[in-house]
């Protein structure tokens, strides 16, 4: 379990945010299948920009990694990043303060 502390103000937004990250995993896998590295880059860029603000710096790191890997057209790194994100989302536990 990975425990993350999030502002109580954002409690209503968190389920939607995490659901969108699940959708990002599916989107990136589909983009990778058709070599749409630009699409992966844009998705990573968005993830990088929003993760930290919501209280998930790890998601920002994953997003930055996806963006870099997409620019380098490094499919293996993209797959690794997605795998890490999937694993993270499966075990993250939110504590509101």
């Amino acid at each position: 379990m990975v425990q993350v502390t999030v502002d109580r103000d954002l409690e209503d937004l968190i389920p939607g945010f995490l659901a969108n990250r699940q959708r990002d995993i599916e989107k990136v896998e589909a983009m990778l299948a058709r070599d749409d590295f630009d699409g992966v880059r844009i998705t990573g860029h968005s993830m990088k920009g929003s993760g930290g603000g919501y209280g998930f710096p790890f998601i920002t790191e994953i997003g930055a990694g996806l963006e870099r890997a997409a620019i380098a057209r490094d499919a293996d790194s993209i797959r690794n990043a997605i795998s890490e994100l999937r694993h993270y989302l499966a075990q993250v536990e939110i504590v509101y303060r």
Binding site: L13, N20, G49, S50, G53
Partner: protein
């Protein structure tokens, strides 16, 4: 937060094609009392602007379709005063500089922290002229848009309304005296004098007399009593610029004044109570000067109660367009001429120049460019040439000498209460020469006399004026 302490909350338009960012920023802003309007594209933002009239726009840089930069240009084409804050996941220098050139209120990097965002939105709204203030804005004469200056002025405003001793550090030409004046104007002492003195521009012997005053006969040429600036500033503020240049002997005397609130004029056995707020400034590293034994440690700590640091112009580049605009405007008004402007290439060049002479250098460059350019647009070649001519705000030898001479003349006139014969004697010149010097510097001795021409400068017995000049001239022949 403060900015939203009104019955009608300020409206912020958020523009981002990422729904998660819109949700996050909306929650933060609404939680702080702002009213929020959202748009997921530049086109939608322009529509919302027309309908909802927000007070501030917060936009992402990279969006599909119209990007943030284009949106900024479109907004400012019709509403140049609308504060626009740019958010970007990539703080590239070219984009940030271009955005500065276009007049953004702030450039924030994602992921952005809540406190940073709210602080910048509040600041942008405060700077916006759409907000009417019940009282004069602190530092109203200081031109800035940068976060660095906003943070400095916030801190300065907090200490202005007290008697706390302030120390301003910063490179030459950054505006330390301007800040000191702003603090004075915002203080309870605003109706009392603000007196500034450059401790580095006045010879040591004159500086002691200038600051602490002297009794009649205290030294050769001291034929009248002189009050001194500490007494002249009583109730007000004394600004000691280049305090690092103050000789050690005078530092002891100044420390005593700051501790005992009394001043003892040169040659006097009595101390006079004074109530003065001291603001000091220097471009030197005073802590290092203390280590070298050139500045007293006890005085350093007495002066350095609240340290403020003026950023160099290179540290606040986003202020350059506003500063250039201000000085261009000032020059046009002074000359009663059409306002000139820099070409986009010239502006970009000036934005990235090193500016070792800071705001003073920038002002000189504007003066030079507007003087030498006959057209309304100042080209890149002129900007380059002006920066070469004015490489570090370093004055020519003649200009530096003139400035020193003027300060010296003002010093002796103050000490002698405008008595030309005495002032000339101290300066080692005959009166005719001294009058010529005064004329060269457009100085009028009468302005330094208290009580007008019938005051303390009445000719001393035997002071024949003409005869004295003749005698001086004969001797010098």
């Amino acid at each position: 937060m403060g900015i939203n302490d009104t019955s009608t909350p300020y409206r912020v338009l958020i523009v981002d094609d990422d729904s998660d960012m819109i949700a996050l920023l909306s929650t933060w802003l609404k939680g702080s009392g702002f009213s929020v309007i959202t748009a997921t594209s530049g086109d939608e933002a322009l529509t919302r602007l027309g309908m909802s009239r927000p007070h501030c726009v917060l936009t992402d840089l990279y969006m599909e379709g119209m990007d943030g930069m284009t949106l900024l240009s479109r907004i400012h084409a019709t509403n140049p005063l609308m504060p626009v804050i740019m958010l970007s996941g990539q703080a590239g220098i070219p984009e940030a500089m271009k955005a500065m050139h276009l007049g953004i209120a702030a450039f924030l990097t994602k992921p952005v922290e809540k406190e940073t965002l709210l602080a910048n939105v509040s600041r942008a709204l405060r700077l916006s002229s759409d907000i009417s203030e019940a009282r004069p804005k602190f530092g109203a004469g200081i031109i800035y848009r940068s976060t660095a200056m906003a943070e400095l002025l916030e801190k300065a405003e907090l200490v202005a309304d007290s008697d706390i001793t302030v120390f301003i550090s910063g490179q030459t030409g950054t505006g330390k005296e301007v800040l000191a004046k702003a603090i004075h104007e915002a203080s309870p002492r605003r109706d009392k004098p603000f007196i500034g003195v450059n401790c580095g521009a006045i010879p040591e012997q004159l500086l002691e007399s200038e600051l602490f005053g002297h009794e009649r006969g205290a030294f050769t040429g001291a034929l009248t009593r002189h009050e001194g600036l500490l007494q002249a500033a009583n109730g007000g503020t004394l600004f000691l610029d280049e305090i690092g240049d103050m000789p050690l002997g005078l530092q002891v005397k100044l420390l005593r004044v700051l501790q005992d609130f009394e001043v003892r004029p040169v040659g006097s056995t009595r101390s006079v109570p004074v109530n003065v707020r001291v603001i000091s400034a220097t471009h030197q590293d005073l802590a290092e000067a203390v280590k070298r034994g050139e500045f007293r440690e006890d005085l350093y700590y007495r002066l350095n109660v609240v340290p403020l640091h003026m950023p160099s112009l290179a540290e606040r580049r986003e202020d350059i367009p506003a500063l250039l605009d201000y000085f261009l405007d000032r020059v046009a008004q002074k000359r009663n001429a059409k306002k000139k402007r820099f070409s986009p290439e010239a502006l970009e060049y000036l934005l990235s120049a090193p500016w070792p002479g800071n705001v003073r250098q920038l002002m000189n460059v504007v003066e030079l460019c507007t003087t030498l350019t006959k057209t309304d647009i100042i080209p890149l070649s002129m900007a380059k040439s002006a920066l070469r001519e004015e490489p570090a705000g370093i004055q020519t030898l003649k200009v530096a000498k003139d400035a020193f001479e003027r300060n010296y003349l003002i010093g002796v006139l103050r000490i002698t209460n405008g008595h030309v014969a005495n002032a000339a004697r101290i300066a080692g010149r005959n009166r005719t020469e001294f009058y010529k010097l005064l004329a060269q510097h457009h100085l009028n001795a009468a302005e330094f006399r208290k009580g007008g021409a019938a005051g303390a400068d009445e000719p001393e017995p035997g002071d024949d004026g003409v005869a004295e000049d003749a005698a001086d001239e004969q001797r010098d022949a």
